[in-house]
Symmetry: C2
Subunit: 324 residues, 2 copies
């Protein structure tokens, strides 16, 4: 959950000299940033440094990260003709730098027992940026397209799903030992809309990855109401945020899935004793079941005290037995 | 759900000449605005026009609605000393204009069979604005206070709960026939934090209103994970957003409560056939059970086509039998 990010001084030092897309374009930099939290925190896995919108660039999207403003897409996709223009190219060529970074990280981690997770944005979440032209609060244009031109919407999901499945498979071939699909904003949809307009394509991506034999994690926020549908997508692990109890979430997801989560990242701003109490509470809800992947419920904020993050990692290690 | 709001041209006409707090301060204007959707849409109930932050002004809070920016609080509450300075005054004196508007609306609705709903913000949601100084995405300062100084937090909840209980009771005495408690952002909390830092005070407000014998509605968004806790607060009706199926929500809330909801307000931007399909789907999930109050899952956006809103009201009337 942005374990390589702006709360780390060593990350800020690199970002002072390089833009986000610039880091992603240079495998040795991306690899360095990916490894920072491994050194600093002792976390149990690395996750490749990249951005969920990065694969849009080779599709023909004019993406910019404006300083302090988040992503801006200068040619948003709002019509069937716009969808038509998006190009799906083989990841080995279109996203070569990410794959090279993965190979570099794997080499650096060799023999350290720390696996590397690859990732991609899921079609709905990526589409929301693509249609809105950036971040959104109400997803008005996205839903307008979904409701108003379901055929164009399906064509858009189709292309994003094809791209995503190819990209994640290429990440696995490059060395990723698990992959996470970020459907961060899927919780903005009703179960009805998720089932009809999103789930078929997430399911297809997960199915395409099955032959590769690596665990697939499906994550979203605000998903308490659609957890049974996320489970239907077929991923091995369902990632949940803190807005539902981990025990309740697991019951909704079903025992055949592992569950990842779910400490509120804002707890990292609390005093040490409160952090400990909350970490213990999450672990108590997991009840020691194998298949619980401890994690934050969403991304670390830039202002987060590094010591609090490190303390959480130590605590989880103290309080649990790893099932490996 | 903002049925009197900027999507109505007759509301915009008044807002062109009067600020939000200005309308709230003039009972005849507030009453006029309250009645607009009754005339225009034929909805089954009126809800008094006011703002959830209005009661903060007589508590000593410097509140401003900056054009296009939402609420700004110039003296946010962040310490125990800040909480200490907040004054709880009797609503009859401190919020006289709202009570007068309620009386005016009741007179206007007399004999029309349209009940009037009063409302207030719930302590957590109001506190979030009060602590942050306005709207927020992550509620960082709010949670910092809650985790970092639980005694100051409890004192803040205490004052807000006392004010809210008094304010709602005064609204009932002035003529409101039901009251709604808006805990719009309660869904930002984990069940753990909601139970410990919020629920006791919501429960206290609901209990204080019980002797008045009017239905109490408790509403929040993103609450799928905490619905059982909202039910514990004891309100007659639990309002839910669209992020969970109405049937699923009702099961989580329990059969002893009525449920209000839950059409995604973004559906109002869809073509007519899609709107109809979605309205029918919500009603199908309610399965004709008495105790379903059809509503949107959250506020109407200003750009919403009025005709779509009217069509939804007509459809619900066509497709249901009112249990009165």
């Amino acid at each position: 959950m942005r374990q390589a990010g702006r709360y780390l001084p060593e990350y800020r030092a690199i970002r002072a000299r390089h833009g986000l897309l610039d880091i992603c374009a240079r495998p040795e930099l991306a690899a360095e940033v990916t490894l920072q939290p491994i050194e600093r925190l002792g976390v149990d896995a690395a996750i490749i440094f990249a951005d969920i919108l990065l694969p849009l660039v080779p599709m023909g999207v004019d993406l910019e990260f404006a300083a302090g403003e988040g992503p801006v897409i200068h040619n948003p996709v709002r019509t069937a003709a716009d969808v038509e223009r998006l190009v799906v190219r083989p990841a080995e060529e279109a996203l070569r730098q990410v794959l090279e970074a993965i190979a570099l990280v794997r080499r650096a981690l060799d023999g350290r027992g720390v696996p590397l997770i690859g990732f991609a944005g899921a079609p709905f979440t990526v589409a929301s940026y693509l249609v809105e032209g950036g971040s959104s609060r109400h997803y008005r244009r996205t839903k307008e397209l979904m409701y108003g031109d379901p055929a164009a919407w399906a064509a858009l999901m189709e292309k994003l799903a094809a791209m995503t499945a190819g990209y994640l498979a290429a990440q696995v071939r490059a060395g990723a030992q698990a992959v996470q699909l970020f459907d961060s904003w899927a919780g903005a949809l009703s179960p009805r809309d998720y089932r009809e307009h999103v789930l078929p394509w997430v399911r297809r991506i997960v199915a395409a990855l099955a032959p590769l034999g690596v665990p697939v994690i499906l994550f979203g926020t605000g998903t308490a109401g659609i957890l049974p549908l996320l489970a239907e997508a077929g991923a091995d692990v369902v990632g949940v945020d803190w807005r539902i109890g981990l025990d309740d979430a697991w019951e909704r997801v079903g025992p055949e899935h592992a569950v990842q989560g779910n400490l509120d990242p804002l707890v990292l701003f609390a005093p040490a004793e409160e952090i400990e109490r909350q970490v213990r509470a999450v672990l108590a809800e997991a009840a020691g079941r194998p298949g619980h992947v401890f994690n934050l419920g969403h991304g670390i904020l830039p202002e987060t005290p590094v010591d609090s993050v490190r303390r959480v990692v130590e605590l989880v290690h103290e309080l649990t037995v790893r099932h490996t």
